[in-house]
């Protein structure tokens, strides 16, 4: 318990100290990298709510990155730069899409659930491709970052701290949710559905609510991601994206609070190292070739995820 608090504290301090240090060393690139990782961490944290705690193997979480991204992008395209409006639309739109997908998919289970969430996301992907006005396949550039009173996202350091704050907020929200009565139903239904039914829980509405909350958080990640890349394509919703987010959760440790964050950092840092830092040109060129086996080994080696190294599963 104590060690965990210390680890969290050290982690947050490290992230908070990164911008001044990176700028001092003349390496703003790190700011960019870690900001991107934290945005994916938010997506992974939200997926962990339904996958880790709810047992819903959603293979379509990139859908919300897309909906959030397009909400911001389309509003900006039409000249609406207000961040509250854009992010509100991203979160609200994703929540609605999650409501629709969840309402249908949660009635199924197992492989059907995986396939339906995947199918819906593919549908949205092709919808993105067909939106010629917004660049179709090629996507479109975001004219300017979301505009907020007092906070200027065009300043990379400010944007970094906003992302850091939102990531920590996401962790806290999921922590509160899974320990509330609501979260207990969610986890109980995952743990033993027959028993949950027998004592009088009807899991469906709770699962749907979790699905919608996770979608809304995913939409926020999408709004952040399009601001980060300043570019929007249907690839936000590509099924491999969904796979990567799911992988981050599993690698980091399902149903743990540190897991999705650890998973996002590990996955994206390794990806970055293989593709850019490794001193062997051959590895850099064919980095995907090396990422695959590394992923397989890490899952085999860390059965309970990276978070499992530091202790037991937490609630």
């Amino acid at each position: 318990m104590k060690t965990r608090a210390i680890l969290w504290g050290a982690f947050v301090l490290l992230l908070a100290a990164l911008p001044p240090v990176a700028l001092e060393l003349g390496q703003p690139f790190y700011l960019d990298l870690v900001r991107r990782i934290m945005i994916f961490a938010i997506a992974a944290i939200s997926l962990n709510l339904i996958l880790g705690y709810g047992g819903m193997v959603s293979f379509g979480h990139a859908a919300y990155l897309g909906v959030g991204g397009y909400a911001v992008g389309i509003l900006a395209f039409h000249g609406f730069d207000n961040g509250l409006l854009q992010w509100g639309a991203a979160i609200g739109g994703s929540a609605l899409v999650a409501l629709a997908i969840g309402a249908v998919s949660i009635r199924t289970s197992g492989v059907y659930f995986i396939m339906i969430t995947l199918a819906f996301t593919q549908m949205l992907y092709y919808l993105g491709v067909s939106l010629e006005e917004y660049g179709g396949d090629d996507g479109m550039r975001l004219r300017t970052r979301s505009e907020f009173p007092l906070v200027d996202l065009k300043d990379p350091v400010t944007f970094y701290y906003v992302v850091l704050g939102l990531m920590l907020l996401s962790i806290f929200i999921v922590f509160k949710l899974v320990n509330s009565r609501f979260g207990m139903v969610l986890r109980a239904a995952k743990s033993n559905e027959a028993r949950a039914l027998a004592i009088g829980f009807s899991p469906y509405p709770y699962r749907l609510a979790a699905f919608v909350i996770a979608g809304a958080m995913g939409g926020l990640a999408g709004a952040l991601l399009v601001n980060h890349t300043s570019y929007l394509t249907p690839d936000f919703m590509h099924w491999t994206r969904s796979g990567e987010i799911m992988f981050m959760v599993i690698l980091g440790g399902m149903a743990t609070h540190a897991g999705p964050v650890a998973g996002a950092f590990a996955f994206l840092l390794v990806e970055d190292m293989l593709s850019a830092w490794v001193p062997l040109a051959f590895v850099r060129e064919h980095w995907q070739l090396f990422l695959g086996p590394l992923l397989v080994l890490s899952v085999l080696f860390f059965r309970r995820g990276l978070a499992g190294i530091f202790g037991k599963h937490d609630g």
Binding site: K176, L177, N179, S180, R181, F182, G183, M184, V185, R187, A188, S191, N192, A194, R195, A196, L197, A198, I199, G200, F201, S202, P205, Y206, A209, H313, G315
Partner: protein, 249 residues
């Protein structure tokens, strides 16, 4: 005697060609303990699952406290006052013993659309859960993860979770299954202490327990109830001896 608390008419369930429940009629009165006995594969667990709502019946009606509950799902029946234990232990293995019971308390406490306050430090859930653990004799095991309990303790936890929902009707599927003599004795004492306070349907192979606890006994063979009577009369019933008790001897 007034209207029965539970009234089952012509209940049926088939698995393919197998008639697991074949036209079962039952009446259980408030406060009564009805034991259901029968050979392996007679359909006892199937019947319990139909009553609890886990298994849809092919035909027949179930009335509970004057209301037709035939179409209700398991959780809806649970909220009306049904509670069951499982023949094969079915708990929340990753949760502590106390949490398992507190979850059952929570399930009974109404909707759970409360998103913020930590549930497991809520006295409204924890206090009643502790009370039930004490009643079944598991209070010293409150903090143990359920997966790490012994078999006998699992059986006690099964009953504790059923009790924690404050049921009107307790459906117990072989609560003594696999227990040692001493553990069985404790379970019998526990059930004896519930007798009269609750209405109980007890499926059990342990004849000693059945004859000590039951007010009436129904004998189920091939999905049919071939006799329902007082324990003394069941002991003497020739058909029953042939179909069931004879096997045991």
């Amino acid at each position: 005697m007034g209207e029965a608390l539970l009234e089952v008419r012509n209940l049926a369930k088939s698995f393919g060609a197998l008639r697991a429940t074949d036209g079962v009629d039952l009446e259980v009165h408030e406060g009564e303990t009805l034991a259901i006995i029968g050979p392996n594969g007679a359909g006892k667990t199937t019947l319990i699952s139909q009553l609890a709502g886990n298994l849809r019946s092919d035909a027949g009606r179930v009335r509970f406290a004057g209301e037709d509950v035939t179409a209700l799902s398991a959780p809806r029946r649970a909220r009306k006052g049904f509670a069951r234990s499982f023949q094969i232990t079915s708990v929340f293995p990753e949760f502590s013993t106390l949490e398992n019971v507190a979850l059952a308390v929570q399930a009974h406490a109404g909707h759970s659309l409360r998103f913020w306050r930590p549930a497991m430090s809520d006295p409204a859930l924890i206090e009643p859960a502790r009370q039930v653990l004490k009643e079944v004799g598991l209070e010293t095991r409150a903090g143990v993860i359920a997966a790490n309990l012994s078999h006998g303790e699992h059986r006690q936890l099964e009953v504790a979770m059923a009790l924690a929902t404050q049921p009107r009707l307790l459906l117990l599927d072989e609560p003594m299954a696999g227990m040692g003599i001493e553990e069985s004795e404790r379970m019998i004492a526990l059930l004896a202490s519930l007798k009269g306070r609750l209405t109980i349907i007890l499926v059990e192979h342990d004849m000693d327990a059945v004859f000590r606890l039951a007010d009436r006994i129904s004998v189920l063979v091939y999905g049919r109830i071939i006799a329902t009577d007082s324990p003394d009369k069941i002991k003497l019933n020739a058909e029953v001896r042939k179909a069931y008790l004879g096997e045991e001897a």
